[in-house]
């Protein structure tokens, strides 16, 4: 039938276009990964080398250059700040959704407003406070700051997941005599567990990639991965392959986290507004 042939060709056309666009957008990332396996002479060329003998030298160099410590620091900051966020945000989201406080709208407003005010407003006293407390270059400082940074998003996101629990389930639990804590642990958490995981992944993404605080409040001991990358701006000007290896390592965890939590990414980014 003519119509079906038409749609078949049209579909192929759209498919080709979609793949083309996808590859173009992804290309810099792909190039980054490819380059990380090259020798410098294959990377620093006027015409791009697509065929080359791969090597792990760059990764070895990057690790001996100290990325290991940076990764460890980033991991600590990310994991612990995320845990802290969950511990604070779950009850808060509960208070704003299931058994809401009287002025829950104000509560929500407050949280979203802290996200809207740029960090710049608080960096001066935070910097001073951290310095005066002797907490500079301390990974736990970063844990606290990252937690504060991600808390609003987490509260909003978790709230949107909590609202999806069917009202009847909660009412049945209440009739059966469940108190607040049981409601939370026995009824809600099992149902919203995937949502909690998604929120955690979003926090991981933002914590791991965070640059500004890391730049200004850490030095040698607590340096996180973004900070480590800074070293490549000036001094390692000609070490592109090594730079790519570092960049790949830096981006890998979040790329994976994002690919896994893809469906929840919108929710996190729009702070729970869009499912």
């Amino acid at each position: 039938m003519a119509a079906q042939k038409r749609t078949g060709a049209a579909r192929a056309g759209w498919t080709a276009l979609a793949w083309l666009v996808g590859i173009v957008f992804f290309f810099p990332v792909l190039w980054m990964v490819l380059t990380s396996f090259k020798q410098e002479r294959d990377a620093y060329t006027t015409t791009p080398h697509i065929v080359f003998t791969p090597t792990l030298d760059q990764y070895k160099a990057v690790f001996s250059g100290g990325i290991g410590t940076a990764v460890a620091n980033s991991a600590i900051a990310t994991i612990f700040s995320t845990l802290l966020v969950l511990v604070l945000a779950i009850p808060a989201a509960y208070a704003l959704s299931i058994r809401p406080i009287k002025r829950y709208r104000d509560g929500l407003f407050f949280f979203i407003s802290t996200k809207m005010l740029p960090i710049v407003a608080a960096i001066v006293p935070i910097f001073l406070a951290v310095r005066n407390l002797g907490a500079m270059d301390n990974i736990w400082t970063m844990v606290v700051l990252y937690a504060a940074m991600n808390l609003p998003i987490a509260v909003w996101m978790l709230r949107s997941f909590f609202l999806e629990v069917p009202r009847e389930t909660l009412e049945a639990a209440r009739l059966d005599g469940a108190g607040v804590r049981q409601e939370l642990t026995e009824v809600m958490l099992p149902v919203v567990a995937p949502g909690v995981a998604a929120t955690a992944l979003i926090c991981v993404i933002f914590s791991w990639n965070e640059f500004f605080f890391a730049l200004n409040l850490t030095a040698t001991r607590a340096a996180t991965v973004p900070f480590f990358l800074v070293g490549f701006i000036t001094s390692e000007g000609l070490y592109w392959a090594q730079l790519s290896a570092a960049a790949t390592l830096a981006s890998l965890p979040v790329l994976l986290a994002g690919w896994i939590a893809q469906k929840q990414l919108v929710r996190g980014l729009s702070m729970g507004a869009i499912k």
């Binding site: 039938m1 119509a3 079906q4």
Partner: protein, 363 residues
């Protein structure tokens, strides 16, 4: 106005070979009101969507006005559709909603406005032309959806369960309005519903579908009096026809401890079968001094009449609930033993395995 023909039309479920609509053969005359009825999953909506061009035709073909429309886009088929959830354009006013199709076909502004007003007047929604759908009640939205269809003066109306989202009372009133409207406009209409009352009251003819296959297509009365199989018999009519297993020997049917004669004229149709399925409508059963025994299991008082549910034992080990319609003045007790008279002149018989109709009372 156009005639519509389904010729062996088949549509598979997406990604498979199981048919949603299986070799449907149906002919709808010009100006006819045809109802497609059946339980969920019967394929009636799919069949309608195939006619609209919203579903592909995998096999066979569909003709509108004598032309094969396979592969033709919906907008070129000269049909209008009323959707189950109305599908109104939320950002447009009622007037813009109704006039949208005309705008798409390049009709001039003044002509468009005139026809929109006409359609709105016909449906009594003239005052709502400047409102948006979210400001309307369910019944009003339904009428806007209808207005959108009739303003186009198409060859055929397609309606997908347009009344199912209305409350019961509104449904009855709107039902009458739609039927009257169709009679007045005389446009060929294909109407899908799962409600057999709607089918019976509105259709010139009714096509009953089950599992994608056409069971029977006939006038409502014919469907009621001569259902082609037990499924149809049990679907049409409320309360449904009573179906009982009966033994047969020499023109005599045995149900439990009762006997019913097969009418002379129909003996040959029954032939030499040992068993048949006997059918009798609730309004034809009578309580009597003698007859099939049973116990009253439920009494439904409807005001004008009573539906009496009687538990019977037509054969060893089987229990069948039978319903009869009786006088509202009578009094019954649960568990009371009663006797049912099954009048021979009102019985139908179906083949016990194929479930097809063997005979039914003459008109």
């Amino acid at each position: 106005m156009a005639e519509i023909t389904y010729e062996n039309a088949t549509r598979h479920f997406p990604g498979g070979t199981i048919p949603a609509v299986d070799a449907l053969d149906l002919q709808i005359a010009e100006g006819e009101f045809m109802v497609l009825v059946g339980p969920s999953g019967s394929g009636k909506t799919t069949a309608l969507r195939m006619l609209a061009g919203l579903e592909d035709i995998d096999d066979g073909r569909i003709m509108i006005g004598g032309k094969d429309v396979s592969g033709v886009a919906p907008r070129d088929r000269d049909i209008a559709m009323v959707f189950q959830n109305y599908a109104l354009y939320p950002n447009k006013t009622v007037g813009e909603n109704i006039g949208f199709a005309l705008k798409m076909h390049g009709v001039e502004r003044s002509e468009r406005d005139r026809r929109v007003k006409e359609a709105a007047a016909l449906l009594d929604i003239e005052g709502l032309l400047d409102r948006k759908p979210k400001q309307l009640s369910g019944g009003q939205r339904q009428r806007v959806a209808m207005g959108r269809a009739i303003v186009r003066e198409p060859s055929a109306f397609l309606m997908d369960e347009p009344l199912s989202n209305l409350d019961a009372k509104l449904r009855v009133a709107t039902r009458a309005q739609i039927a009257e409207l169709q009679r007045r406009l005389g446009v060929t209409t294909v109407y899908v519903t799962h409600d057999q009352v709607e089918a019976m009251t509105m259709g010139d003819r009714v096509a009953l579908l089950k599992d994608g296959k056409l069971q029977q297509c006939a006038s409502p009365q014919e469907l009621y009096d001569r259902p082609a199989n037990t499924f149809i018999a049990g679907f049409i009519g409320s309360p449904p026809m009573n179906l009982l297993p009966a033994g047969h020997q020499d023109g005599k049917l045995t149900i439990g401890d009762a006997h019913v004669e097969v009418p002379e004229a129909h003996r040959s149709e029954v032939g030499r079968l040992d068993n048949v399925t006997l059918g009798v409508r609730p309004e034809h059963l009578r309580l009597a001094e003698e007859g099939m025994a049973g116990t009253v299991s439920l009494v439904e008082e409807l005001g004008a009449e009573i539906h009496l549910h009687v538990r019977t034992k037509p054969a060893d080990g089987e229990e069948v609930d039978v319903v009869l319609r009786t006088d509202r003045h009578a009094r019954y007790r649960l568990g009371e033993t009663v006797h049912l008279d099954i009048p021979s002149e009102h019985i139908l018989a179906f083949h016990p395995e194929s479930t097809e109709l063997l005979f039914a009372p003459q008109a």
